[in-house]
Symmetry: C2
Subunit: 425 residues, 2 copies
């Protein structure tokens, strides 16, 4: 299979995808739960059956990317394993088991005028998703869009095109089995970068863009497109160890939040420690970090407690390292911790470790982040861990969807009014 399709007129090609997606969205919006779940189950079965084929397509992608000198971090994300293929199939089956968010009328109440007012959850329409490297996004995002009654236009990384198309073929098999149009899930079959520009300009066909890439991509979407987006900016996540913390939990959580994986957005980047217990908690934690090769940068108080901590600059407090580096600050109390988070944080995920319920409640209420946690690792901030089945992305915006975006974030609610001839007087 030649990964690069020969498409001469990108504009025409993309408009075609858009028009087909819009038409498919109307069909999907009307599809009942059983039909959509049948499509998801059949797609999962096709993925499982075609595992060897998917791995072979991916191996070709990886070989080509390696030859082209793709950096190791991206190569790592590009790589599919047998377990990864099984995860995709299971993910689709899990999405099928989730309740259908679409169609039910809720919150119905009668008004003095006699009308009954309620709300109905409906799909957004057509979702454009722009992502890189990781081929499993193709199955996850397509599955969530399908279940929520939306059509998807998927623009994955050029380096993953073979695997993405093979996965899309399985999704199409699922759609076929359920009698739904294949155009409900379309993979942009060209590596031409102009396709992204076209996608961003098609506001008549695309209702929302989900850019899953670096900040450069998000900047580009913000500048080029008038289509609303679910965007994911920095993850400068904090753990605050309160002086009323259980120190064993604190050490376990602070270790996990930093070292379980370095490159993810929900990894802790700054550790805040209450001064009253800093001398008990920092030395043993520092040993753990040093053993794992984590570089520590701290304020004067932290440096005084642990030799080997380098000085942190103002810049460090703002930094999302995505690497084995951790900033550490000793703070007076929960107020100082929340002030630090408000000033330097990115409103992604922040946790407090404390046994004091009143302080836990204050932290939950007052820290203005998409996920706030008590006595748990920031690494849990994830659609799968939250029970959303999967996630189409994590939103750091406040409007519409906040935090991991699953089915609900791909829908909106309209008002439904039921009358019996009522008029307004």
């Amino acid at each position: 299979m030649n990964a690069v399709a020969e498409i001469k007129d990108i504009k025409l090609y993309m408009r075609g995808l858009g028009e087909q997606a819009r038409a498919a969205a109307r069909v999907l919006a009307r599809a009942d739960s059983a039909t959509k779940d049948h499509a998801l189950a059949a797609a999962a079965a096709a993925i499982r059956r075609d595992a060897a084929k998917l791995l072979a397509a991916n191996a070709e992608d990886v070989a080509e990317a390696r030859a082209a000198g793709l950096e190791p971090a991206l190569l790592d994300r590009l790589q599919l394993t047998a377990a990864g293929v099984e995860d995709m199939a299971e993910g689709l089956e899990q999405i099928a088991r989730l309740p259908d968010p679409i169609g039910a009328i809720t919150d119905v109440h009668e008004r003095p005028s006699g009308i009954r007012v309620g709300r109905m959850r409906v799909p957004l329409g057509v979702i454009g998703i722009i992502y890189e490297s990781r081929p499993n996004v193709t199955a996850d995002a397509a599955g969530l869009c399908l279940k929520s009654g939306n059509a998807a236009i998927l623009r994955g990384g050029s380096e993953a095109l073979r695997a993405n198309r093979a996965i899309a073929a399985c999704m199409h098999e699922g759609l076929d089995a359920a009698g739904l149009p294949r155009t409900a899930i379309q993979v942009v079959a060209t590596t031409d970068r102009a396709a992204v520009g076209e996608l961003l300009s098609m506001s008549q066909y695309v209702d929302i863009i989900v850019p899953r890439g670096g900040k450069g991509l998000i900047e580009r979407v913000m500048q080029e497109s008038r289509i609303p987006m679910i965007k994911h900016l920095d993850g400068v996540c904090h753990v605050y160890i309160d002086d009323r913390a259980d120190l064993q939990k604190a050490i376990r959580i602070a270790d996990n939040a930093k070292t379980q994986r370095y490159g993810t957005c929900n990894t802790m980047e700054t550790l805040l420690v209450a001064e009253a217990i800093a001398d008990q908690v920092l030395p043993p934690l520092a040993n753990i970090y040093f053993d794992k090769g984590v570089e520590l940068r701290g304020d004067a108080a932290a440096q005084k407690l642990v030799p080997g901590i380098k000085p942190a600059t103002e810049e460090d407090w703002y930094t999302e390292y995505l690497a084995p580096i951790l900033a550490i600050r000793v703070v007076k109390d929960i107020d100082a911790a929340m002030e630090h988070i408000a000033k330097y944080g990115s409103a992604h995920t922040d946790a407090i470790v404390t046994e004091d319920q009143a302080r836990a409640q204050r932290f939950l209420r007052e820290v203005d982040s998409s996920s706030v946690m008590v006595n748990a690792s920031t690494r849990f901030a994830d659609g799968f861990e939250y029970g959303l089945g999967a996630e189409v992305g994590i939103s750091t915006d406040k409007l519409h969807a906040r935090g991991p975006v699953g089915l609900e974030g791909l829908t909106s609610q309209k008002y439904v009014v039921l009358g019996d001839g009522q008029i307004r007087t």
Copy 2:
């Protein structure tokens, strides 16, 4: 009172408002329900007590606007009456009685990892509202922002500045009584148009803009601002009279939807009639419209049934007249009606009149508008009529808020994770 404050440095002045609003928002986010409701009740009492003062301030505004040649429609909206003042006070009391949307943790469920995941509704922060003429918006919008824990920066029309400031003084009295900062509700005290430009540029201080003006204003916000907005575009609303309609209800609803008020966004602009009953329903309806001086523009079938209907052009189907003009089209059936609405409508409010439950359900589900109605007048599409207490605006967007925006549209939900030392493996 000189309506036009002497403000030399608009930029500095607006940044000051922004900074104060941001600080006030943090206080408001923490305020409990009783405190906010106390402020609302005290503000309502102040408005009632100051009714004569408010009417006098408004009379000065109106006199000046009339002298300056403001057009009659705007003069009409500018005018406050004693009943209007009472409505403002009652509106604030109603908002006080609504449940507080903020702070409760809902949807808590335990995950296999042992963490409990829930959601907490939180304020958006600082709301910037740009509006024209109608002074009651000052009380309605300020009341909704206050109850939902948001700080408000209100930029009303220059022509209404005296009344707006007098109303704001009453709101401040309410905030004082509850021990909340006056800076939670700030009226931009200058008529300098540059103030709007500044407001639109202050993304560090303003979380959301609500432009309540014409399309020109919305275009300006879209072009100048990176702050998200709740926007309200056209209201090209339809009533479809099905051939299974109760014709008495149909006539009553189609009359009311058009003629109860001509200049509102939820007024019907196009009437669709099933061909099987067009000859029974159109002639009597046309008589009603003609009696009220409504100009009718129809397709060939409508013209054939009723002499005096002028020909409609393609342009008419897209037009929001906001005037005593109505477009009429005879359609084959519900499918043709829904196709017309999908093509020409503005996704604001659309109604079906039918006694057929299956068709009603199809219409509710398949028409993609912010409000969809069965056997009721489109004129009901309104925050007050829906029981939201008031509305800060009506959204024709799909994301975040859709339809009349009350308290919930001024909030978002964050994820809350409760653990007992859980880490991710």
